[in-house]
């Protein structure tokens, strides 16, 4: 007697369809799982047996073989427990094959027959491509996001058998999900994406003064320019960075899905803000390992922080404190907007389209070499400067020194411009950039710059002067032009870029000399 049930396993952030075949025959009683199961998957045998028995269902005292096809693909995790149990019930005739036709199953079994959640329900459901799908209660939201199959969910194995036999109705989805998700319709359509208050993002109006810092946040959001904020401790670098999310345009549905897929695959709850279209904000600590940041791991290939930040902001506070290999490993994802992770048995490509915002102190003690306040030695300052030079810093279009706010600014009651106002300018600027055929100005390739960023004669003269005095390199020039384009877009100017935008771009530019950096500066 043979039965087969559809399910899926996770590889990176993608699901792969898996057919669970169960064969029950006469012979010495035994249970074998073949088809490259990992340890958690192989243990399914004991969970399935206990769950069946405690649900009052029969466990065949015969020879049982479970094949997970395609057999060359490694199966990870416990999500195949439920399809194995269902396949077994089909094979021994407890269930009718017609009841599970074109239905997929995902879920881990508890020894008492409870159906538990697994990471990656969203990509798994998307991969099965059946007309109906049974998922654990906690995975209902993710499954409905896919928007294809009819989503069903039950709490226990015995409930499932009753529902499949038609003895009891399927429980209402709303009764299974936490109260905050009651908006989800019975058919699973549209739910979760609407009617949710976005989690509160701090508003830009809390930032007092900081003309340059605010401009940098606005430009970074509008043009997708990576940003480094440097300044002494307490100058509000983190405060500014946290507010970028609030001025970014809301995510379109496919980007919400992509970001949710990564969170799902990482086994994290879907962030409410992202469900409401708010870009994600991830701020890993500098003790994070390369694997935590990029993703990986020996069997599961869990997505890392940069993938969790996809379509949103990755904030690296204390950038120089990140170990060099970790920092340097960011270069490829920054360039390609995906991260490739290769292992001996599998290689995956995870999304990593994030806006990088970094913060750093100007020197190890934070006071930036200022006489009296700074306690760093010359050698320390030099080491620090050297640690930061190099290819990663080259990826930042904006490098802004943030000043410590003055006392009267902190006490002033006048507020700065609100995020909403800035966000509308950002959205308008992005629309201009899209009308030229680029999602953001940061992604305009060098060979198109002449055509896309035309300069007024005064603006051109300003740049030529700096090129002549080798204050600006060719690469620096490209960056300035992209940022100047964004500044002009923010003003709603589509024509040639004016001198003021170029002067501001120069003020926001990276790689300006520090006092101690350049001994031959006078010559």
């Amino acid at each position: 007697m043979i039965a087969s049930v559809s399910s899926a396993t996770l590889l990176g952030v993608e699901g792969r369809r898996v057919l669970v075949e169960v064969h029950v025959s006469n012979g010495l009683p035994g249970f074998t799982i073949v088809g490259l199961p990992d340890a958690a998957c192989r243990e399914a045998r004991d969970r399935v047996r206990a769950a069946l028995l405690s649900s009052g269902l029969p466990w065949p005292l015969r020879r049982v073989t479970v094949n997970l096809a395609p057999s060359g693909l490694r199966k990870a995790g416990s999500g195949l427990d439920l399809p194995i149990a269902v396949g077994l019930l089909l094979a021994v005739g407890e269930l009718d094959a017609r009841t599970v036709a074109d239905c997929g199953f995902i879920g881990e079994l508890g020894l008492d027959g409870t159906i538990r959640s697994v990471p990656g329900v969203l990509p798994l459901v998307a991969a099965i491509r059946s007309s109906a799908i049974v998922v654990p209660p906690a995975g209902v939201i993710e499954a409905t996001l896919v928007g294809g199959p009819a989503v069903r969910s039950v709490r226990t194995l015995s409930e499932l058998v009753g529902a499949l036999r038609g003895q009891v109705p399927w429980p209402a989805l709303a009764s299974l999900t936490p109260a905050r998700h009651e908006a989800i319709g019975e058919d699973g359509s549209g739910g979760g994406l609407r009617g949710e208050a976005p989690s509160r993002v701090p508003d830009l109006s809390d930032v007092r003064g900081q003309a340059i810092g605010r401009a940098a946040v606005e430009v970074a959001a509008a043009g997708g320019h990576h940003l480094v904020l440097s300044g002494p401790p307490g100058s509000g670098k983190t405060m500014l960075a946290e507010r970028i999310v609030g001025v970014l345009p809301p995510l379109p549905r496919f980007e919400v899905l992509e970001t949710c897929r990564v969170h799902s695959a990482a086994g994290l709850p879907l962030p409410e803000g992202v469900l409401a279209g708010q870009p994600p904000f991830r701020a890993p600590h500098h003790s994070a390992s390369a694997v935590a940041l990029l993703g990986g791991g020996s069997s599961w290939l869990r997505p890392g922080e940069i993938s969790l930040a996809t379509n949103g902001v990755l904030f690296l506070d204390e950038l120089p404190e990140f170990p060099v290999p970790v920092r340097e490993s960011l270069r490829q994802p920054l360039e390609e907007r995906v991260v490739r992770i290769a292992r001996a048995r599998a290689s995956v490509c995870l999304p990593a389209a994030f806006l990088l915002v970094a913060a750093m102190n100007p020197c190890p003690c934070g006071e930036g070499g200022r006489g009296g306040a700074c306690s760093c030695s010359a050698a320390q300052l030099e080491r620090y400067a050297r640690r930061l030079s190099g290819p990663l810093l080259d990826r930042f279009d904006l490098h802004v020194a943030v000043s410590r706010p003055r006392a009267h600014e902190l006490f002033s009651t006048s507020k700065g411009e609100e995020s909403e106002v800035v966000a509308s300018r950002v959205a308008a600027a992005r629309a201009l950039s899209r009308s030229r055929g680029f999602a953001t100005n940061a992604r305009v390739p060098s060979h198109r710059l002449d055509e896309i960023v035309k300069l007024e004669s005064k603006a051109r003269a300003m740049l030529e002067r700096r090129l002549a005095s080798s204050e600006l390199s060719a690469r620096g020039l490209d960056r300035i032009r992209r940022v100047a384009r964004t500044l002009a877009d923010l003003q709603g100017e589509e024509g040639p870029v004016r001198a003021e935008a170029v002067a501001t771009a120069l003020e926001l530019r990276p790689g300006r000399r520090a006092l101690l950096a350049d001994p031959g500066c006078a010559a």
């Binding site: 003064g209 900081q210 003309a211 340059i212 810092g213 401009a215 440097s230 300044g231 100007p362 930036g368 070499g369 200022r370 006489g371 009296g372 700074c374 760093c376 030695s377 010359a378 300052l381 030099e382 020194a401 000043s403 003055r406 600014e409 300003m462 002067r465 001198a499 003021e500 935008a501 002067a503 501001t504 120069l506 003020e507 300006r512 000399r513 520090a514 006092l515 101690l516 950096a517 350049d518 001994p519 031959g520 500066c521 006078a522 010559a523």
Partner: protein, 438 residues
């Protein structure tokens, strides 16, 4: 025991043997002095090669050699050292060392040679051997050491550059250490206004082929090609910490006057000042804010009588005139010959020194900073009110654009435009964390 005849060849000058000895591992300037003093390089070389125990007697007094222990222990250590050197010399003979020196373009000057800087004779322990890139004879002209901290402020950098330029334009030889900060600024200034008959002089801590710090490479090359870079350390020697106080004594020894521009209390420039005071070289210090850590050392020197005040180039010239005698006359020649236009066009006041005017009006000092102020006022008259308002806020310390926006109540765009025009006119300069007056 007679040395093998093959140990010395007639094609090698005697300094080649001295160089080979100085390049031995664990050789220090003091040990070299003990070994070589009043002896021919070749002779010591042969005795070392032969493991002559008599040489150990010379080394017994060496400070690092178990000082304080009984003589027999130290003598044993010295013999051990000589044995080790003997085997090392066999691996790196004089001919090899000399070849390396030649291919590196370096020369060796030994105490007593005609080209050995005569001023170094004032030192208690003059360097026995100097490695030289370039031409040391510039040291015979009036020499002024301009030294200071690596962590200089804009103020210090500006003053060092100005002094370097002013003095170099008059034909003085600027001596410094090629460190970042004050040292580099002094030489950069000197190179910008160099006279054809004078050149800068740098004394470095490591070997001549070990450029340190790396960022000074271009400055190093320019000093070498227009003047000289010299060191007591053999080729390949790392610039280790213990070499710098010794290096500083050479800077002091080479100078007629020492000017400390900025230094903390513990800075290496304090050693230079101390060494200068020890051999009677006048030390001048540039005063600074009592709140600036970088002026703590210079202010302390002045208050303790360890240095005279240096308020401008005139003070330095007066000090040079006192010690250098007739040689210093060239510094007061009315015409500045061969002066090249200053590279720092941004500092109009520094250009065109006016010595003639000075001579004519004693008491009224045409100080460079006053000239600069006048020039700035002239330039400012042509600027818009916005630019003038922004300029008023600039000073020696970096000021952040946010602060300018706030104090002037101008929009960011207006401020950056004004700053750009000021920079174009040479009135402002931008740094990583703010703007300063040029």
């Amino acid at each position: 025991m007679s040395p093998p005849l093959s140990a010395r060849s007639s094609d090698l000058p005697d300094n080649a043997y001295a160089a080979a000895i100085s390049a031995l591992p664990d050789m220090t300037p003091m040990r070299l002095l003990r070994l070589l003093r009043d002896r021919a390089g070749g002779e010591v070389y042969e005795r070392l090669l032969a493991g002559d125990a008599g040489l150990a007697e010379l080394l017994v007094g060496d400070a690092v050699l178990h000082l304080g222990r009984e003589r027999s222990v130290r003598l044993a250590a010295a013999r051990e050292l000589v044995r080790w050197w003997s085997s090392e010399l066999a691996g790196a003979p004089a001919s090899k060392i000399w070849g390396e020196l030649r291919s590196a373009g370096a020369t060796v000057v030994r105490y007593g040679d005609g080209s050995y800087p005569s001023k170094l004779g004032r030192l208690e322990f003059p360097p026995e051997l100097l490695y030289v890139h370039g031409d040391l004879h510039f040291a015979e002209a009036p020499t002024v050491a301009i030294v200071g901290t690596r962590r200089a402020t804009h103020y210090g950098i500006g003053v060092a550059e100005e002094l370097g330029a002013e003095l170099a334009a008059r034909g003085a030889c600027i001596v410094s250490g090629l460190a970042l900060g004050i040292d580099a600024a002094a030489h950069a200034g000197a190179l910008a206004r160099r006279r054809e008959d004078a050149g800068p002089l740098a004394v470095v801590g490591g070997g001549l082929d070990v450029v340190y710090p790396e960022r000074s490479r271009s400055l190093w090359a320019r000093v070498r090609s227009t003047g000289a870079v010299t060191s007591e350390a053999p080729l390949g020697a790392r610039p280790l910490g213990w070499r710098f106080p010794l290096r500083n004594r050479i800077i002091a020894g080479l100078s007629d006057v020492i000017v400390v521009v900025e230094s903390s209390r513990q800075g290496g420039s304090m050693h230079t000042a101390e060494a200068g005071n020890g051999i009677g070289v006048p030390v001048l210090a540039v005063p600074g804010s009592i709140r600036s850590a970088q002026s703590e050392g210079t202010n302390w020197l002045i208050s303790q009588g360890g240095a005279h005040l240096a308020l401008d180039v005139e003070d330095v010239l007066a000090a040079v005139a006192l010690v250098a005698g007739p040689l210093a006359l060239r510094l007061f020649e009315p015409e500045v010959r061969g002066a090249r236009p200053g590279v720092r066009g941004a500092r109009p006041g520094v250009r065109g020194a006016r010595p003639g005017v000075r001579g004519a009006r004693p008491g009224v000092r045409d100080r460079p900073d006053r000239l600069r102020r006048e020039e700035a006022e002239r330039l400012l008259a042509a600027r818009s009110t916005t630019e003038r308002a922004v300029y008023e806020l600039l000073g020696d310390e970096e000021i952040h654009v946010d602060v300018i926006c706030e104090r002037t109540s101008l929009q960011l765009g207006q401020v950056v435009m004004a700053l750009d025009r000021l920079a174009e006119a040479g009135l402002a300069m931008s740094y990583a964390s703010g703007w300063v007056r040029a």
